[in-house]
Amino acid sequence: MTTTFLRHELKAFWRSKNTGKSIAIRVVMVFMILYLLLCVLAMGFFLNEILEKTFPHDDVVVSFCGIILLYFLVDLFMRLQLQELPTLRVQPYLQLPVKRNSLVRYLALTALFSVFNLWPFILFVPFIVRIVASDSGSLAALAFVVSIAGLTAFNNYFALYLKRKSNLNGWIFLVAAGLIVLVGLGDFYWHFYSIRNISFLFFGHLINHPALALVPVGIGVVMYYLNFAYLRKNLYLEELGSRKAGKYKSSTEYPLLNRFGSVGDLAANELKLILRNKRSRSALIMGLFFLFYGLIFYTNHHYGEGWKIFVGMFMTGIFIISYGQFMYSWQASHFDGLLVSKINFSDFLKAKYLLFTIVSTGFFLLTTPYVYFGWRVLLIHFVMFLWNIGVNTTMVLFFANRNYRRIDLSKGAAFNWEGVSGNQWILSLPLVITPYIIYGPLAFFGHANLAVAILCIIGILFLVTRSFWIKQLEADFYTKRYTIAEGFRNK
């Protein structure tokens, strides 16, 4: 059965309207992954030497045991942001004589095909073979490999479980990510405890008592079944679709937006779209997660000012990047309706600008407490905020004219995920790189202030010339409207 599902999914991939775009993204991804793989492989082989350099006073096996848990903590954090959820359009199979368990098993098994599950082995196994096996015998080495496999499985399913949960409720993601950051800060910033000591406590004993390897395997298995049970429980149309007998839905109004006339009406509609659909709401809430980025980067003095540009842009503009990515697709299900109603497309665009400006302003205000790390931080945040609402909004809308993929908001989120994953970040690469094209060379030659000033001026310039860009985007849209509408009709 699993192979049948795989074949169906492959067909869905190849026969989709967006195959070309998906392949291009995948090719870029594959190259990045290969590059990272080589880096990790090199690290794995020289782990012995690296550890000796980093912790010159400790025995190399002790420091090795110390970093394992630390690695898995970082791994979990990265998985939360980047790992993709395996998907399957389950609905057509539900009424057929297909066992529910085989549907769920398919989802659970394909989840293992992730590069994230390769990293720990590439990184740790060379060291285990070289050092642990020769020092403490092959049984201890086997125990290490088994423990690492168990922890990998645990992280894999735990991250997916959290992601599935947070699809339904974005706050879960936020809390989980916040907790991981807090655990990290507790060690490295506040020094309450040492993760390395805890890690050594377990792996140090593992050398003498290989049977302990069953503990990580146990939690891995438990996590697998938790995930399995959760998926199985959610295989009902009610959870898949939106047709739930919920509480009374009342009409809402945003008096602030009424002032903007028909543009305000459109913006109000889109705000309702965001707040009333699980997926778009999650995109907004996960934006809040990026407000933690400052804590990670500003507390560490290794990161220079270049990072502030990056962090400032992300914190004030994450909504533009993550929501804007899928622009127009959010409205795919009623795009035909929009096209035939009496809506001026330039009003439609103005509404998008208005929405982005409002939300980004909100995010900028939320980042103001970072002034604790100096006024310059706030200044850079403000410059990047201007850049976001000036340049990035326009770029996002430019890409929106080239996006033909339908998003079905009415589908439940647990099995339908196009939110935070590696692929998404590839698409946002142009947005992230552009400010560095200006900042990088100038800062390199010591004109950082000038660079910030130029970024600021360009941001303001784009803001002032908005109506010009709207005209360009409108003309561009009219050449692509049929393709967009057709893509959105393609379910």
Binding site: S242, R243, G246, K247, Y248, K249, S250, S251, T252, S262, D265, N269, K272, L273, R276, N277, S333, H334, F335, D336, G337, L339, V340, S341, K342, I343, N344, L409, S410, Y478, Y482, A485, E486, R489
Partner: protein, 243 residues
């Protein structure tokens, strides 16, 4: 009102719409019938400038729909649920559509109160988003949002398909009323031959993208259509008697 010239659209070499010439005059009520895949919806979409034709053009009031937007001022249409903004409550949606035509809320409320019969207590003040309504009730929202716009041209694609029998009769009298009293040009497609011959004065029969029959409705139209569609069936007694 509507003029179609040399309209052609094909997908992968299969012609789905091929209409050399069609003219629909102001105030006509036209029904479109045809089996699945005959090209009815594609024709509707080309008229509404949602699909780019391979060749030819559609003129509404003498103006090409592609590249112009004036037609949106007097045309209202409902083809499928894809025309509704489904995360809004029906009220919000009606206010939005009304707002596009510069109607204030009082005006919209006033209009909706006149539709109470048609809604049959299922739509307003139910505390549901449009996506939570059944298909039939969504259709009601779509139809009423069309009427609210006070159009000169009304286009509905299979409006009778999902609604209950009572609503079907109400919709028929609404359509007749609009056409006869207000002079609205209507273009309606349906698979229900009884309804369509009852409502429309002119029937267009489509097959494989072509309009193969263009009939002014009279007492024998229904039989004529039944004869066409009733492949391999024993034709109704009325036809048999006449022959």
């Amino acid at each position: 009102m509507i003029e179609i010239k040399d309209l052609k659209k094909s997908y992968n070499g299969v012609t789905v719409v091929n209409v050399p010439h069609l003219e629909i005059k102001q105030g006509e009520s036209v029904g479109l019938v045809g089996n699945n895949g005959a090209g009815k919806t594609t024709l509707f979409r080309t008229i509404l400038d949602l699909i780019r034709p391979d060749s030819g053009e559609v003129l509404l009031n003498g103006e090409n729909v592609a590249g112009h937007e004036n037609w949106k001022n007097y045309t209202a249409s409902y083809l499928d649920e894809g025309f509704l903004i489904d995360y809004l409550t029906p009220e919000e949606y009606f206010y939005f559509i009304g707002g596009l035509h510069q109607f204030n809320r009082a005006h919209v409320d006033d209009y909706l109160s006149g539709m109470a019969d048609f809604f049959n207590g299922e739509i307003l003040k139910k505390g549901k988003y449009i996506r939570d309504l059944s298909k039939g009730n969504q259709c009601k929202v779509g139809v009423v949002s069309c009427l609210l716009q006070n159009p000169e041209l009304l286009m509905l694609d299979e409006p009778f398909a999902n609604i209950d029998p009572s609503t079907q009769f109400r919709l028929k009298s609404l359509l007749k009323d609009l056409n006869k009293m207000k002079g609205v040009t209507t273009l309606v497609s349906s698979h229900d031959l009884n309804h369509i011959t009852d409502v429309c004065d002119r029937i267009l029969l489509m097959e494989k993208g072509k309009i193969i029959k263009d009939i002014a409705t009279n007492s024998s139209t229904l039989n004529e259509l039944e004869e066409y569609f009733g492949v391999g069936q024993i034709i109704g007694t009325a036809t048999a008697l006449r022959e």
